[in-house]
Symmetry: C2
Subunit: 276 residues, 2 copies
């Protein structure tokens, strides 16, 4: 099992890279490489668009790579997602793409293109409090398809997105087909009035109205609303689901935190055969 970490959004912290390598060494059940592009920096991003795209395309085209793990979120994968999907090499289809948060732009476009993607913890999470457990959960799923890593109530086919990322990819070439999907959403660091506005946008989308149901993960680090909004994030999501004729399925065990679980897009694929 060979996993390569690339950073299509923001740079990976060197201490996260070191901690991850140490954890993988201890496990001994997989081989992990951290692409040097992860440590590049150019303004907001882990290197210029060209460098992030080149690293991503390099690992997509490498037939010795079983899983591409996105180093962290932040912002920026949308700037290279479409270009990453042009003239797809055969090897791109024989691996898993894994991460969450800003990586949702890639997840959407890659899933639409028929590649295997899953939502779950990322390398940078290891430097959070409790982060080793999160990264271990991700590796348990990547290496052994451990069902204990999955969001416990998952009802396939499913997808998971950061709500704000989802809103920003609707109507773009990255938008996947949501028909019949259980859609899990979560968010972090937003005001409730923004969650409400984003839910208005998302719930009005003709594509989103084709989902089977929406479940809400954690909405963490909500910024103060002045005045008090008058309701919480779950009230807001249920309100817009009801108004829009979308089934609301209650809460989900995902979020921008170390308890975040794995959500394979579509239907989970069996464990990859061991390489000869």
């Amino acid at each position: 099992m060979r996993i390569v970490v690339v950073a299509p959004s923001c740079p990976l912290k060197p201490e996260a890279a070191e901690a991850l390598k140490a954890l993988v060494d201890t496990r001994g059940d997989c081989e992990l490489s951290i692409h040097p592009q992860c440590l590049l920096s150019a303004g907001h991003f882990a290197g210029p668009d060209e460098a992030r795209l080149a690293a991503l395309r390099e690992v997509m085209a490498d037939s010795s790579v079983d899983a591409v793990w996105f180093a962290r979120g932040g912002y920026g994968s949308n700037r290279i997602a479409e270009a990453a999907l042009t003239d797809l090499p055969d090897a791109a289809g024989s691996k898993t793409y894994f991460g969450y948060s800003d990586a949702g732009f890639l997840h959407a476009g890659f899933h639409k293109a028929g590649l295997e993607v899953a939502w779950g913890p990322m390398p940078q999470d290891i430097v959070r409090e409790g982060g080793e457990a999160a990264v271990t959960r991700a590796l348990d799923w990547l290496v052994g398809r451990d069902p204990g890593a999955l969001e416990p109530e998952i009802d396939e086919p499913a997808m998971a997105f950061n709500l704000t990322v989802l809103s920003n990819l609707l109507g773009t070439p990255l938008e996947p087909d949501f028909t019949g999907v259980e859609l899990l959403i979560e968010d972090v660091g937003e005001h409730l009035y923004r969650i409400d506005r984003t839910m208005f946008h998302v719930a009005a989308s003709p594509g989103i109205r084709k989902v089977r149901q929406i479940r809400l993960g954690r909405v963490n680090d909500v910024l103060p609303n002045d005045p008090d909004f008058g309701g919480d994030a779950a009230d807001i999501v249920e309100h817009w689901c009801t108004r829009s004729g979308i089934a609301y399925g209650g809460r989900a065990d995902i979020g921008h935190d170390t308890a975040n679980r794995v959500v394979p897009f579509g239907r989970a694929q069996p464990k990859r055969p061991t390489r000869a």
Copy 2:
């Protein structure tokens, strides 16, 4: 000339209401009413959705009203915009709807429905530093169609939107036809990475790609980007226009400030005949 102020988003400050009434008394060229709904409060909003909708529909249906002036922005007009347009009374078509910021949700849907809308300063602006000039500019245009109030380079047909509001109405039933339009955008209180993400979303929209050109108003009160984003808001907007095949026409004289100018949607209508 009879103008009525309603608040489809957040409540109007009482001191703004008083200052506006005093200004209009001094001018003596129009009659102004501030609907009592403007001072309601329910959580984030100027009263519950039902009260804001009822006040808006009341003034839309009132044939004695020449102009409906949205009290202020904030957030919330999207929650009632579609309902405001159902079973439109005849009188709704014989008046001007005026404001900016969050009122963009109404502007979009109302313009799409054939009503006359324009972007420009709002009553709440009067309590800003320099706000009397802003509100005077709005009244000069509402009462006398003063060409000096207009965005100086305006090239009809035009529209103007807060960028974040625009992003959140794309793909919803409020989205108007942008074909051949000069689209003016501005924003306030955002991080540059968010401006970049929103421009990705907006510039990818098939509807937006039909505009004649985009011009950028002021992007005020930009929140600190950590690290430095690497470019300013104009660089970002030009970048996404270029990538998306949209003509970028440079800067525009609109913004969340008291220098904000008037932008009639579509083609400006002549001054309304004086009521008998």
